[in-house]
Symmetry: C2
Subunit: 199 residues, 2 copies
DNA sequence: CCAGTGATGACAGATGCTGACATCAGCTGC
DNA sequence: GCAGCTGATGTCAGCATCTGTCATCACTGG
């Protein structure tokens, strides 16, 4: 290795999280993050494409949990089962990786700044697109696959938001089952009126 | 009025759309947009909070179509009907306001740049939250309302994406019915396994 | 011991965005 | 008419984000 302390890729996100939590995202400059991590501003931008990206390091593992769950599902699985399995797999990774407290802290930082919300939404949109692509590869129609991708992310996100609510102690996957139940009830009203409406 | 040609608020988005379509979003500077509109860069930032926002002028009308449709629905309406009505109202506004060709051109500009996609996703997320809020005001439970807001936007977006596909001539609301049908089929698989699974 | 490699530092510059103050047409009250 | 106010715009200075380019230097392989 080089003449500098290794692990800059790990120190930078940690320094960023600390500073963002202390003073907020906009009140923190990239130079300050780099200083705390012991590198220069230029090096920060060698590791992360922009200032926001430092909060989204290592999301590939999270996204691949969704994908792998779909690819690993048995052949006859219904679309609803695929959605549930993918969301559950993503939730499991999230719970094990860093835990609820870390998720809460990270979410608080993101919730306080629209630029960060935008980045998170883009990541989730890409995840939904990737899920839809794997669904199509299994033979799901294009329309159902696109909606299935969106729904997977919606079920995950809605459950996640309740999972990190103050005082909540239930398991993330249990909360996803709750969201899925609401989805089932909602959609029970859509199938029948669509054919029987005004009959 | 002042000593300058009026209508800067209209000329700026038009100049921006032209330049973005010609050379792309990143290759266009705010100074160039302002020049074409006959104002200074500083004036641009008086009308729009940032460079991206110029493409999202006048979205309040679009969002209020969703909200108004929910508030105007009859008392006994099922959640699924509210979702369908809101998406249909938003679609109607979009079709009448500027038409499919304008939507295609605008979407092409946005699809070519991730910064613009982020902004659009943020607008849609806020719309989903606003829809969820109105659903809760009608007595829908928090869990169902959050999911209902997401679903409204998903149904709208999925149908919109097909609406602007090359060669597509069907009505936007007709495409939404297609998305809703896919939703019904998907969710038909979720209600029953949730209670009967492993029975 | 020497050339190559790869990560980092140093520096200059374009662009996005903001604050502060000046300017000037039209309106208002007298 | 005329003085003053108002509101939109221009002008200017400045900070922060992000990028291109080149130099530096520890480590590696021969």
């Amino acid at each position: 290795m080089g003449r500098w302390a290794p692990g800059a890729a790990q120190r930078l996100p940690q320094a960023a999280m600390e500073l963002f939590a202390e003073r907020g995202f906009e009140a923190t400059t990239v130079a300050e993050i780099a200083d705390r991590a012991g590198v220069t501003e230029r090096t920060f931008f060698r590791y992360f494409a922009d200032k926001r990206e430092v909060l989204f390091a290592g999301q590939e593992q999270f996204a691949s949990a969704f994908i792998d769950a779909i690819d690993a599902a048995p052949d006859g699985a219904a679309l609803a089962d695929l959605v549930a399995a993918a969301a559950a797999a993503g939730g499991a990774v999230l719970q094990q990786a860093r835990g609820r407290e870390f998720a809460r802290a990270r979410h608080a930082v993101i919730a306080a700044n629209e630029q960060l919300q935008e980045r998170e939404l883009l990541k989730l949109a890409k995840l939904a697109a990737a899920v839809a692509e794997r669904l199509k590869a299994r033979g799901v129609t294009a329309v159902a696959a696109q909606l299935g991708g969106d729904l997977t992310v919606s079920v995950f996100s809605d459950a996640f938001n309740r999972w990190i609510a103050p005082g909540e102690t239930r398991d993330l996957v249990a909360l996803q089952r709750e969201s899925l139940a609401a989805l089932g009830e909602l959609a029970a009203g859509v199938t029948q009126p669509l054919k029987a409406r005004r009959a």
